[in-house]
Amino acid sequence: MQFESFSDFIAMGGYGFYVWLSFGSCLAIILGLLFVSLYEGKRLKEEVKMQMSREERIKKAKEAEAQA
């Protein structure tokens, strides 16, 4: 361990702002892109599901119409 205390670690020998700005923005960009990508996958699956249930409903309505 290179630092005496936690506050020393945060201070980074006076360069804390620049070091944590770098690591923070890096983490934010990575997590942001990851979240967007995972959400997009979830949304796509829901879209396909909705389309399937819609087609199912149309099919049932047509069957009901044919019987009537």
């Binding site: 670690f9 980074m12 620049y18 923005s25 892109l33 796509l44 879209e47 396909v48 399937m52």
Partner: protein, 245 residues
């Protein structure tokens, strides 16, 4: 000889391959980045000249290397897509581009945050910095070109051509510190004869590079899965996959 590769031209097989590979990439990237960051931030010794500010190297160098590595992979996928007319390769181009753009943005931002305390300026129009900025524009250009066409086939072809032409920027970035008199320092770890970095700093750096490489792989796989599913969303295999849960 290459026959084993042929089934992967099918979207479903490619999707399954992504699913198989994803956990390995994810585990390697999370483990290496956690270890690499803790090692780099807390246990690596401070630099004799730059003190603790040099710790930015542990994300600046990996993201810069991977910004170029991701571009090379994207360009290879673009060549494959144009030559063999494989739609999966075209989707890979579009899947990799945002990940590469993110790496380029990280390299630029961390570079600025390192430049301010060391050079006294957030940004200078130095050859290395400028060529890296052009790399970001190339990524964004590939993405916007793809989405600018109503016809996805035409858009894909245009994006692939731009991706291949943009490769000319990679050697410019790499050799910029030799060809021009730059403020940016020269190569550190690629000078194999006399490495300019001490092992106590080199090891956490290499671990971070491995972690970022695996991260680029994992995020590209997640995005490629989305692209394949988006392109095939009316096909039976996607419907089966979705209804299975």
């Amino acid at each position: 000889m290459w026959k084993w590769l042929h089934p992967y031209a099918k979207a479903e097989r490619a999707y399954q391959l992504c699913n198989t590979l994803l956990p390995y990439f994810a585990v390697v990237s999370v483990l290496s980045i956690v270890v690499g960051w803790i090692w780099g931030l807390a246990y690596a010794p401070a630099d004799y000249q730059q003190k603790d500010s040099y710790r930015i190297i542990f994300i600046h160098v990996p993201s810069a290397i991977l910004s170029m590595g991701a571009y090379s992979s994207m360009a290879i996928a673009a060549i494959v897509a144009l030559v063999w007319q494989l739609r999966n390769a075209e989707l890979a181009v579009i899947a990799i581009a945002p990940v590469g753009a993110a790496m380029t943005a990280i390299a630029l931002i961390t570079g600025a945050a390192w430049g301010k305390p060391m050079w006294g300026a957030w940004w200078v129009w130095d050859a290395r910095l400028t060529s890296e900025l052009i790399l970001l524009f190339l990524y964004l250009g590939v993405l916007s070109l793809y989405h600018a066409f109503e016809d996805k086939k035409a858009g894909g072809r245009a994006a692939c051509i731009l991706a291949i032409v943009g490769v000319v920027n990679l050697p410019i970035i790499h050799f910029s510190v030799e060809w021009w008199n730059t403020l940016h320092q020269g190569a550190t770890i690629t000078k194999f004869d006399t490495s300019a970095i001490d092992p106590s700093m080199l090891w956490p750096l290499l671990i971070n590079i491995l972690g970022f490489a695996a991260l680029v792989g994992a995020m590209s796989l997640v995005r490629l899965k989305n692209e394949i599913m988006q392109a095939d969303k009316h096909r039976p295999w996607v419907r089966q996959l979705v209804s299975r849960g």
